[in-house]
């Protein structure tokens, strides 16, 4: 049995033990000094190298990546704060970018960085969350005058107003007589026999100016406006006289008249024997009663005058009027070199076909080309020019949904945030930027 004396018990404790730190305590003290020192050294090393990399809140946007390592390009020390604060000011942004005002009567506009938040990775700074727009447009106020747009919009399509072109009572302002339903029916009579027109036969993507781009389709995203020569002339030729193989040009009536006169003069000069031939041209005019045959013309001038009246009657009343709405007579018969007895020159309404249906928004057809046109545009049932065939917002909302707020992100829908269609800055007011950097500033 182990027996310990009082002396042995006393000797069990080394009375000087507290004077020597044990291993664990030593390490703790050592590391407590070394780690903060290492951290400060790490920061100091960057400072010594003139680098601000550790303080970067993240990679900058793709557009600014070229200046990512040159913080001072954007973070300029303000004199007002004795050079300490180096927040990015609007001045720094505006030294490279022209950013026209959003609207003349908008409430105080935010600083650039309020909306365009940098250091969020290689993103596009123009792709903003709806919240930034809704801050004003959720309850729109203006500095003067009443707002001209909806005053309470919080997202698409939740309370986004219907597109202006589709609001109640809105009509296509076009004045060209056109029947979509007729043109897309089967077995349409074509120049070479029956044919079936597709939407794309007439409506083609508008090519961007400047030719082919390095990558991507060289289109503007819009549809090329309809032009007679390219889209109509194939099936609607402007022949005006059975003797003449030429078609009248698709120009103003006075120019057409001049062309007809010139064509007839040229014809009779080459065929003087036709002056005394009986006139059968009236057969082409759709009249209810046959006209009595007129006496042969006495000379070439009379023949041309007679033929011009007959040809113009066909043109003004049938050929042109098939598509163009007549608005009366605009000019005296004697104008444009017409002979006595000539018909008055007609005046046709301007076609007024809208080139863009959403003046306050943008739409790009290119990414939508895989969808059948008639999925969005109800052309099959359209018989009148005044029918608006633009899809309404409910059609857009089939695919596009807003993703406002933290929980809305990642919704399995196509992009539906404001920037997808709208632009904040009024780029019609843009001005050229004065260059203030050289390439070495970014190296």
């Amino acid at each position: 049995m182990r027996v310990r004396t009082a002396k042995q018990r006393a000797q069990r404790i080394d009375l000087n033990y507290f004077k020597h730190a044990h291993g664990m305590k030593k390490w703790r003290i050592l590391l407590s000094l070394a780690l903060p020192a290492a951290a400060i050294l790490w920061v100091s090393a960057f400072a010594a190298a003139g680098s601000r990399a550790p303080y970067s809140a993240g990679p900058v946007s793709s557009a600014h990546a070229f200046a990512e390592m040159r913080c001072q390009v954007c973070h300029t020390a303000a004199a007002a704060t004795a050079g300490f604060r180096a927040h990015t000011t609007d001045t720094a942004c505006l030294s490279c970018h022209d950013a026209p005002k959003h609207a003349a009567n908008q409430t105080p506009e935010p600083a650039c960085a309020t909306c365009h938040q940098e250091h969020r990775g290689r993103v596009q700074l123009a792709k903003l969350d709806d919240g930034l727009c809704v801050e004003c447009h959720g309850d729109l106020k203006t500095t003067q005058g009443a707002p001209k747009v909806a005053t309470a919009v919080h997202g698409f399509p939740s309370d986004h107003p219907e597109f202006a072109a589709l609001k109640s009572g809105a009509q296509d302002p076009g004045r060209l007589r056109f029947n979509h339903a007729v043109h897309i029916k089967d077995s349409l009579r074509g120049p070479n026999g029956p044919e079936k027109l597709e939407c794309s036969t007439c409506h083609k993507p508008q090519l961007a100016k400047g030719g082919v781009r390095a990558k991507g389709p060289a289109t503007t995203g819009l549809i090329e406006p309809i032009k007679f020569d390219q889209n109509c002339a194939r099936c609607h030729p402007l022949f005006f006289d059975e003797r003449i193989e030429q078609q009248a040009p698709h120009v103003t009536p006075d120019s057409v008249r001049a062309f007809v006169q010139q064509a007839l003069v040229g014809y009779i000069r080459e065929n003087p024997g036709d002056i005394n031939k009986p006139d059968s041209a009236f057969r082409r005019v759709p009249l209810n009663f046959p006209r009595p045959a007129e006496a042969p013309a006495r000379n070439a001038q009379e023949w041309v005058a007679r033929r011009a009246v007959a040809d113009e009657r066909i043109l003004w009343n049938k050929t042109c009027a098939e598509c163009h709405e007549r608005e009366g007579s605009a000019a005296a018969p004697a104008s444009a070199g017409a002979s006595a007895g000539a018909l008055p020159l007609p005046a046709y309404a301007k076609t007024n076909m809208p080139a863009r249906w959403m003046p306050k928004a943008g739409f790009d057809h290119t990414p939508h080309l895989m969808v059948r046109c008639q999925s969005c545009h109800a052309a099959e049932g359209s018989t009148r020019t005044s029918d608006v065939l633009m899809p309404n917002q409910a059609v857009c909302a089939t695919c596009h949904a807003s993703s406002t707020g933290a929980l809305g992100r990642g919704t399995a829908r196509a992009e539906g945030r404001c920037f997808e269609c709208h632009q904040y800055h009024d780029w019609t007011q843009s001005k050229p930027v004065t260059p203030s950097y050289s390439l070495t500033d970014f190296k």
């Binding site: 404790i13 033990y17 407590s32 070394a34 303080y55 809140a57 604060r85 801050e135």
Partner: protein, 302 residues
């Protein structure tokens, strides 16, 4: 420090602050512009979070100067636990639950490590002292373990010398001028014992001690056969039948010495766990605070 009923006010206050913070944060986060470090709300959370971190870190200073009249250490410790628990959620809300980039990212990860090591430490502080009390009844002051071990070795030598005569053993601790054989007093006692018991009878005891037990006492290892109670009991059980009855008392003493050594081993291991986490927690905390100050200055600048 045990988290018991006395912590109730701290716990209630912490939960209340957290609930208020979350209640303010959630609507803002779900709204149009979620708060970030630079937003007004984010700054409020950042200031509150850093304040909590600073108070928590000051515990080390409070411990360093125990005589300062700046509140009882117990209160500081409670503040350390509860404000420490509160600090990470506040900082996460400050950062919009993003870990950021560069220094910010390092800070966040450091904070997570410090936070988790703190939780681990609090858990150990709750459980380990009881386990030590239960599993190490012969517990001694941790810093005394080396000293006690030397005494155990001396005691073992004495027990064997008393039973079987002087031991020819090598020096156990380098640098220490211990005699190559047991002390003179032990040798004198041994002489009396040897006169009573034949030398051949004690040979197995001497052999067992010098080859098995003494190395264990000299260089304790958890891999040694005597490091586990079962194998040690078996070893001593094998020894008893081959030794004369009068030596059984010495065997019991040796067995008791082995048990004490095993408990010292266990205490070492448990103490390592109980205090080892501080090697991670404390230095990382200081590094975190140093970098947090840099972060604040640079955030205000940029």
């Amino acid at each position: 420090m045990l988290i018991d009923r006395s912590h109730k006010p701290w716990g209630i206050a912490t939960v209340a602050i957290l609930v208020v913070a979350v209640a303010i944060y959630v609507p803002s986060a779900l709204g149009s512009t979620p708060p970030s470090g630079g937003s007004l709300l984010g700054l409020v959370y950042g200031i509150a979070g850093f304040g909590a971190m600073a108070v928590v870190t000051l515990l080390a200073l409070r411990k360093k100067f125990p005589i300062w009249r700046i509140g009882r250490t117990k209160v500081w410790m409670r503040a350390h636990l509860w404000l420490g628990a509160l600090s990470l959620p506040l900082i996460l809300m400050h950062a919009g639950f993003l870990f950021g980039h560069g220094l910010t990212s390092i800070l966040m990860w450091l904070f997570v490590f410090v936070y988790l090591s703190g939780f681990f430490g609090a858990y150990l502080q709750h459980t380990m002292p009881r386990r030590i009390l239960r599993d190490v009844p012969m517990e001694t002051i941790y810093d005394q373990i080396g000293h006690v071990r030397k005494q155990l070795l001396d005691e073992g030598d004495t027990v064997v010398a008393n039973a079987s005569g002087a031991l020819q053993v090598s020096v156990s601790a380098p640098g220490q001028a211990r005699p190559a054989e047991a002390s003179a007093k032990a040798a004198a006692n041994a002489l009396a014992s040897v006169m009573r018991i034949g030398a051949d009878d004690t040979a197995p005891l001497r052999e067992f001690y010098t080859k098995e037990m003494r190395p264990f006492l000299e260089r304790p290892s958890r891999n040694h056969s005597l490091a586990t109670a079962t194998s040690a009991t078996a070893a001593f059980a094998r020894l008893r039948p081959i030794l004369p009855e009068p030596l059984h008392g010495a065997i019991a003493d040796l067995e008791s010495l082995c048990e004490e050594e095993r408990q010292l081993l266990r205490q070492e291991r448990m103490h390592g766990l109980l205090h080892g986490w501080l090697i991670v927690h404390v230095p990382l905390s200081f590094a975190l605070m140093a970098l947090a100050v840099v972060h604040i200055v640079m955030a205000l600048r940029f």
